[in-house]
Each structure stands twice: as C-alpha cells, then as structure tokens.
Symmetry: C2
Subunit: 306 residues, 2 copies
C-alpha cells in the first residue's frame, strides 16, 4: 500500500463529499440577505485541513463492512462541527488568532460579528446536514438516531465544549494546571470528536455495542496521542512546516503534556497510546474486521509533521 | 376561559419541562472542569422569558390531538435555541447589551469568552435534547426525524441565522433599509422559530403535509405581527414595563416597521396579520381540530405590553 497516495485519494473524496453538502452562496431567495454568513461559513471550511475526522469516520465505517452513502452526511457534519469550533476558538475574545493553516482566520476576513454567526451557522448546519440521512435510501432510523445522539453528545458540554471550557479555565491557572486537568481537556476538547467520528462510522456500519465501546476506547488513545503530537510540534516544528506560529505554548506559559512530562517521556507515552489503539483495532481481526489503511492512518498520526 | 390563569398554568408546566432537561451543574465527573459553561447556560435559560415558542409548540400539538410526552424534548430544545440566539446577540461584538429582561446578560456576568461557549453549548444541547425523543415510548421515528429537520432548518441559515445576518447588514445600511429587506429579517429572525415551534407540534401530533403547510403560513403571520409589536413597544412603552430600555431603535437610527409605515399603519397591518392567522387556525375546525386557548394566545400577542 502506498499510504501517501491512498490518503490523497481519500481526502479528495472527502473534499467532494464536503463540497456536495456546503450551502449555495447564490441563487436561493431564502438566503438573499444571508449571503455574507454563508460565504464566511464556506470560507472557513474551504481553508482546508487534514480532514482527519471524516477520514477516521469513513475508515471505521469501512472496517465494519459499511459501503453505503449514509455515512456521507455524517462525514460532512463532523467536519462542519470541527470547523465551527476553530472559527469560534480564533475569535478575539477566545485565542485572538489572525492566522490558521497559513490563511487568515474567519474573523480576520469577515469581522468578529460575522465570525460568531458563521460559527453558529456551521454548528447548526452540521445537524441539518446529518439529519439528511433520514431521507436517504439505505437509512436505518435506529442506527441514524444513535449516530446523531453520539455526535451531539461528544460535541457538547459532555465532550468538546466541556473541553474548551476546561481549556479556558486552564489559561487562568497558568502553570498550576494539573495533569488530571490537562487530560480532561485533551479527552474532551480533542479526543471526544475523534471518538464521535469513529463511533458514528461503527454504528452506521452495524457494529454492536461491545464493538462500539472498543472503538470509543481506541479513539480515546488516538485522540490523546494526536493532541500530544500537537504539543510536541509546537516545540519542535517551524512556521513554514506547521502553517501556524510555533512556540506559542511557551509564549503563553501554557501547561502542556510536554511541559509536564518533558519531550522524551511525552513521546514515549504517545507511542504507547498509539500502539495500544492499534492493538485494539487488531483485536477485531478475529471477528473478521480489518482495515489496513486505518491502521496505517493511526500510526501516521504520531509521525505527522503538521 | 380565564386566559391569564390558563397561561400561568401552562408556563409553569413549561418551566418544569425545561428544568427537567437542563444539565446538572454538580455531580457529573464528565463535567468536572466544565461547570462554568453549564452554570452560564442554565443562568441564561433561567433568566426567564415568555416561553412563547414552547407554548405555541405545545398548543399546536394539542390542536392536532397530540397528548404524549414526545413533545417535551422539543419544547425544551426550541427554548434552548431561542436562548442561545439571545446570548450571542447580546455579545459586545453584536448588540453589546448589558441587560435583558431586567437582568444582566450572560456575558455581563460570565465574561465574553464564556458567553460565546455558553451560546454554543445551548445550541448543541438543544439538539442533544431533541434527540432524546428517539429513546421515548411513543416515539415515531419518521415523525421525530421530520420534526428535527424542520427545527434545524428554521434555526439555521435558511431561518433564524439568515435573519440575524440580514439584521447585521441592515445596521450598516441605517435608514436605507428597504421594506423588503426588513420583512426578510422579520420572517427569518423572528417568524422562522415560531414556524418551527408550531410545525414541530403539528408534525409530532400527526398533522398531514397540507395542515403543516397551513400552520407554517399562520405562524408566519403570527411571527411578523409579534415582531411589529416589539417595534411598537420600543416606541410606546417604558423601561419598567418592558424590562429593557425603550427608544433603542430610534437611538440606533434603526429602520423598523414603525419608522417605515408609521405607528398607525403598522398597528393596522399587525392586526390584519393576527386576524388572518386566527382565520387560518379556525379553518381547521371543519376538520375537527380546535384549540380555543391557542386562538386566545395568538390574539394576545398583539395586545401584549412586554
């Protein structure tokens, strides 16, 4: 398997799925005076990104034998949720960031007011989009409802928003942040949406509760390992490779996995988590579920350079 | 019928439904470091309000013979959506309001960052809450999915968020705002959520497409008439009665239905819309659907003083 080529093909597919669900900027009288927010929403999505969450979702769906289109609205939805969280995170009242992935942030282009509305618009539109599953051939209402509930819970106060809140609280604590607090942030701010991605894929493909539970565990490890890599790159990378300023954690006196554990121990633990996640995925092989690309993808997340 | 007493009883019921769905502030380890956002969310909901949208939803449900519990998560959800829109509207980057309903706004109490997250949290939690219908006895998956899709669409860029965007654009135009633009704002910013409320009630009670279409029309008239009353009260009321500063439209040189049409014509048109909505509801009587309280409620919306 040529992993780089395989991932390129898959990301292209995701871009085309995403594109097919983005709202039209022109030609709909219902949005005559709402064009600015739609343009800002689409700008935010089209700035790009690794598309990791839809990728993990699609590959977990495939792992459990899924091969229908019902996964597509959910693939778009999770990327819309991830995007809205970045749009709001970048706001002046939050991280006050002007650049992301080497491009201007949404508020830097469209202003603060429109960026707040664009974030709201993206979150709402994520649910509008996922709900389209109910009109699709091959829809199984019980599975779709379960997938929607997982997505909603993991994105909200019991998931991502909980993690964002804990992250804000941590900023006020500076260097007094405990490892327990930090793990809470990573579990919720980062891992929750990765769990949602993989669990939705599993549920829609018909995985049973035990299998979904195993995926939730594996996705936790993947999410934490992924986040530690972010912390590591903030220390070891550069603006050009990373597409955003490095050293920002140190500058902001931010407690990270790396500042607490040191870069060597952090790297080791991250590797152990990644190995553990792969072991868990491999344990499904005896039940006949196997996806080599997914395994390679998980492995690649801790070796990534941006 | 003692309308004032009847509405009091119903609003009490709504408060208890709302309360039953609000997230716990204590005792859940999943939200150990997320308590602030939950407290801010609950504060925003508990500041109060007319609870008009859940009221219209429950009464439309009753109009079409609905008598189950499946309406309850949707009643909570629509009030959560309404509340989030106010929390974000009040932000410094939006209307910069310190008071609402005589109480401090969410950002004035919890700060801007937490108010952004609380708004996001409320919107997300609205969907989490509505999705609970799928686990309830008496759930009809097709109806619930349809109700969810209506709610999501009317709250988003094709509804409320579209209207908010148009409203922001209007602020920049000042007195150059056209009647067409203004009606677009009211239709989307105000009427859309009232349409969602009543349509969800109709759908869950089993109304057919034609009946849901009639309710959508009636709710449009109700929404516009309701909004014009807001514009009228901003001219004719006072701080004590209204619970918020009056004369703000004139101060902000804001174009309203009243500034374009004058207060007499605005009052007349508003009355005509209200009458038309009631006529439409009455037309359902021949099919055996009748709800005197709902009719009285619609009539009361244009005579309200706050």
């Amino acid at each position: 398997m040529n992993f780089d080529r395989e991932i390129e093909i898959r990301v292209e597919e995701i871009e085309s799925v995403l594109k097919s669900y983005l709202p039209e900027e022109e030609g709909n009288p219902e949005t005559d005076w709402a064009k600015t927010v739609i343009t800002a929403m689409n700008y935010s999505v089209n700035v790009g990104g690794k598309r990791l969450r839809p990728l993990l979702m699609a590959e977990t769906y495939r792992l459990f034998g899924g091969d229908g289109d019902v996964i597509k609205p959910f693939m778009a939805a999770i990327e819309l949720i991830h995007t809205y969280s970045l749009v709001h995170d970048d706001l002046p009242a939050m991280d006050n960031d002007l650049y992301r992935r080497g491009k201007k942030t949404t508020w830097a282009v469209y202003g603060e007011t429109m960026a707040i509305l664009a974030g709201d618009g993206l979150l709402n539109y994520a649910f509008e989009t996922a709900l389209k599953v109910f009109g699709m051939p091959g829809n199984d209402a019980a599975k779709s409802a379960k997938a929607l509930s997982i997505l909603a819970k993991k994105a909200g106060i019991y998931g991502m928003i909980g993690g964002q809140t804990a992250d804000i609280e941590a900023e006020n604590l500076g260097e007094d942040v405990t490892l327990e607090h930090l793990l809470y942030i990573h579990k919720h701010k980062t891992a929750a949406l990765i769990q949602a991605a993989m669990m939705v894929g599993a549920v829609l493909a018909g995985a049973d509760d035990e299998q979904v539970g195993l995926i939730e565990q594996a996705a936790y490890d993947i999410g934490i390992a992924f986040q530690i890599q972010d912390d590591i790159l903030d220390v070891t990378s550069n603006l050009e490779t990373l597409g955003k300023p490095v050293g920002s954690d140190a500058k902001n006196q931010k407690t990270t996995y790396v500042t607490i554990k040191g870069i060597e121990a952090a790297t080791q633990e991250q590797r152990a988590m990644s190995d553990h996640a792969i072991e868990q995925l491999r344990s499904l092989e005896k039940e006949g579920f196997q996806n080599e690309f997914l395994t390679a993808l998980v492995r690649s997340l801790i070796t990534r350079v941006r």
